[in-house]
């Protein structure tokens, strides 16, 4: 029986937990100077204690009847290098608003704060929470996530889930690409794509790519400071400013190209918008760690510490400053839309949940035998299910596993080569488009974007 080709959902790359170091797992936050939640300048003299707090909590739960265990790794030191003790409070409320309740956290060990959130908070669709960790002398405190009540960590409860048990993988039986959209040798000239590294350095290449709804590929060739537009006509190069940091995400619409850059301590990240001719339209600073870009019905958003912030407002293509949302009214405010896809991993399982029209989550619990799950590269809505690309590995092999999941379970699975000779951004290696699944691959000779037809049998 012939299969109808799957219908990609509207272009909307929005995935919880993908990004630099995401909230809920590692939130590196330092507050000094007695200002709650403020980041201390690294070059300024430190006057008070410094705290680091790393929140560890799942994003998806399948069982709302069990208490939710939350832990925070904490470290605290004074300006004179004295050890400071900490106390922690977890503020929690059912999802949907209302006042936060305060739960005192306890120290099972000096470097850990913990608390069990009663299951009563999970009676609805989930809960929101943030923690405040303070030094005992009250000279410093931090919030985790750093946005506190404005950008709390969200734990959602899936309303239904499907178990998927995968057979042991046969490494080495990867699927060959269906077509090649773009191929270029390493280099700097026209028709080439850049890499850096060698010797003892890890080698990095194009950091990410995206597929437009029209099927054009936009490749962020950061080391050559340009964007490559390929497919649907002659290949074009869009030159970016020399100051562009060579690693980040890219998002292309039919009118604009958005590039996000990770930056360092002295400089915030940046988001730039170019027209399709490569002319810089505007450029704004972005919160630290903001790497991932996504397009939603309300505009373009970036992810920072687990929260999405709109960088374009409704009806406008111009970028807005997202570094001081309080001073700018709604500009740069946290995007209230929740991610389409939410994922969590345990040691054995991968949980993938898709939001339905009513706001509930349909989840899949995927287990694999004979291998371990590696990093997640893509999870997008597809038809009435999801398409997931996740690494699988054992001691000798590593590949990417492509899973097409539907309400009834596994619809299709195959593996593709890891193909990362020159490293790219983990979020930037796969996308979906008119030709199916697209992959950015590199080898010792160059980089390419290939496609795989999807829609076959499991």
């Amino acid at each position: 029986m012939a299969h109808e080709p799957p219908r990609p959902a509207p272009r909307r790359r929005r995935l919880a937990g993908i990004g630099a170091l995401a909230a809920g797992v590692v939130v590196g936050s330092v507050a000094g100077f007695g200002v709650l939640g403020a980041g201390g300048s690294p070059s300024a003299p430190r006057t008070d204690a410094e705290i680091v707090a790393n929140l560890r909590a799942p994003s998806v739960l399948l069982d709302r009847t069990a208490p939710l265990h939350v832990e925070i790794d904490v470290g605290c030191a004074t300006a004179s290098d004295e050890l400071c003790l900490t106390e922690g409070e977890l503020f929690v409320r059912p999802r949907g608003g209302g006042a936060y309740d305060r739960l005192l956290m306890n120290h099972p060990r000096p470097e850990v704060l913990q608390v069990d959130v009663p299951a009563t908070y999970l009676a609805g669709s989930g809960l929101e929470m943030y923690a405040v960790v303070a030094s005992n002398d009250n000279t410093a405190s931090v919030m985790a996530p750093s946005g506190g009540s404005e950008t709390p960590h969200v734990v959602e409860v899936a309303t239904a889930f499907t178990d998927v048990a995968l057979a042991a993988p046969t490494f080495g039986a990867t699927r060959a690409p269906t077509s090649n959209v773009y191929r270029a040798a390493w280099g700097t000239g026209a028709g080439r794509v850049g890499k850096t590294g060698g010797g003892e350095e890890s080698i990095t290449g194009p950091s990410s790519f995206t597929v437009t709804e029209g099927g054009q590929v936009a490749l962020f060739d950061g080391h050559n400071r340009r964007v490559v537009l390929a497919g649907g006509g002659p290949t074009r190069l869009v030159q970016l400013p020399e100051t562009t940091f060579p690693f980040g995400d890219i998002l292309a619409t039919d009118r604009d190209i958005y590039v996000s850059e990770a930056r360092g301590l002295e400089h915030l990240g940046a988001v730039s918008r170019f027209d399709r001719a490569g002319r810089l339209q505007d450029r704004v600073a972005a919160p630290n760690g903001a790497v991932q870009l996504a397009q939603s019905p309300s505009g373009v958003a970036i992810q920072s510490e687990g929260a999405w912030r709109a960088v374009t407002e409704d009806g406008s293509r111009a970028l807005v400053d997202v570094t001081s949302p309080a001073a700018l009214g709604n500009a740069g405010a946290v995007d209230a839309e929740l991610p389409d896809i939410v994922t969590s991993f345990t040691n054995e399982d991968m949980l993938v949940a898709r939001r339905d029209d009513a706001g509930g989550l349909r989840a899949w619990r995927v287990r694999t035998s004979g291998s371990l799950f590696g990093g997640l590269s893509l999870a997008v809505p597809l038809d009435d299910g999801v398409l997931v690309v996740v690494g699988i590995w054992n001691e000798d092999h590593g590949e990417n596993l492509v899973l097409r999941l539907g309400p009834e379970g596994l619809r299709e699975s195959f593996t593709v080569d890891y193909a990362q000779w020159a490293e790219s951004l983990p979020d930037g290696r796969f996308d979906i488009g008119p030709a199916g699944l697209y992959q950015l691959r590199t080898d010792s000779k160059g980089a390419e974007v290939v496609t795989y037809k999807i829609g076959g049998k499991p």
């Binding site: 590196g28 680091v52 940091f245 060579p246 360092g264 790497v291 991993f345």
Partner: protein
């Protein structure tokens, strides 16, 4: 027990370092290399450091975090722990530029408190500004000999401050992001990126092997 002074100093650097988690180094102005940062470094030998068994990984982690934000120097091994790359824009893969920061294998050597001239289980402390890289390149970490102070392990058994290594790169394992299952690594990545803490797919990459420092 570990000396209290050691613990507090290391915790301070731990906190500062994590503030830069997930970030790359700032883009460097062109032509600003040859700062001769290493001219301010020293050659002070390592000092024997007593670390209570069980605290080694914490000490290694805090030491490695001290290098975050302090740049990358091919073949290098000294930094001043102020979270600023004092030698931005150095050309790649040149040891003679004398810039700030370790390279990938130099970071592992100093973080692991190694001293190849002395018994393997002992812990040796180098100051941040001690300019030492150690004798091991990434290839050596990937393929340890029986006399080396580290040995290969399964990547499934990685614990904080074990390492993953291939011929070309070595990175220290810190933990895992439970949302996307990627490993979190502390590594000196290259001149453009400096030293940082990033999520990487090294577990899936079959070229990488797990490595662990020998301890008493």
């Amino acid at each position: 027990m570990m000396q209290p002074r050691d613990a507090t100093a290391l915790l301070r650097t731990f906190g500062v370092g994590l503030a830069v988690a997930g970030l790359g180094n700032p883009a460097a102005p062109a032509g600003a290399y040859h700062t001769n940062f290493q001219g301010a470094c020293n050659s002070n030998g390592p000092t024997l450091q007593y670390i209570s068994p069980g605290y080694e990984r914490l000490v290694y982690a805090i030491y490695a975090v001290s290098a975050l934000g302090d740049g990358y120097q091919y073949g290098g091994g000294c930094w001043n722990n102020n979270d600023i790359d004092e030698s931005p824009g150095d050309p790649q893969e040149l040891t003679g530029t004398r810039g700030e920061g370790p390279d990938c294998s130099g970071l592992v050597f100093k973080s692991w408190h190694l001293n190849p001239a002395r018994p393997r289980g002992e812990q040796w402390n180098y100051g941040y500004m001690t300019n030492v890289h150690g004798p091991y390149a990434s290839f050596h970490y990937q393929t340890p000999g029986s006399n080396d102070p580290f040995f290969r392990i399964s990547k499934a058994d990685l614990m904080t401050m074990d390492a993953v290594a291939k011929n070309g790169h070595v990175a220290l394992y810190y933990g895992r992001n439970y949302s996307n299952n990627r490993g979190i690594f502390i590594e000196s990545k290259g001149e453009a990126y400096g030293t940082g803490m990033w999520e990487r797919d090294y577990l899936t990459d079959g070229a990488y092997e797990g490595v662990r420092r020998k301890m008493k």
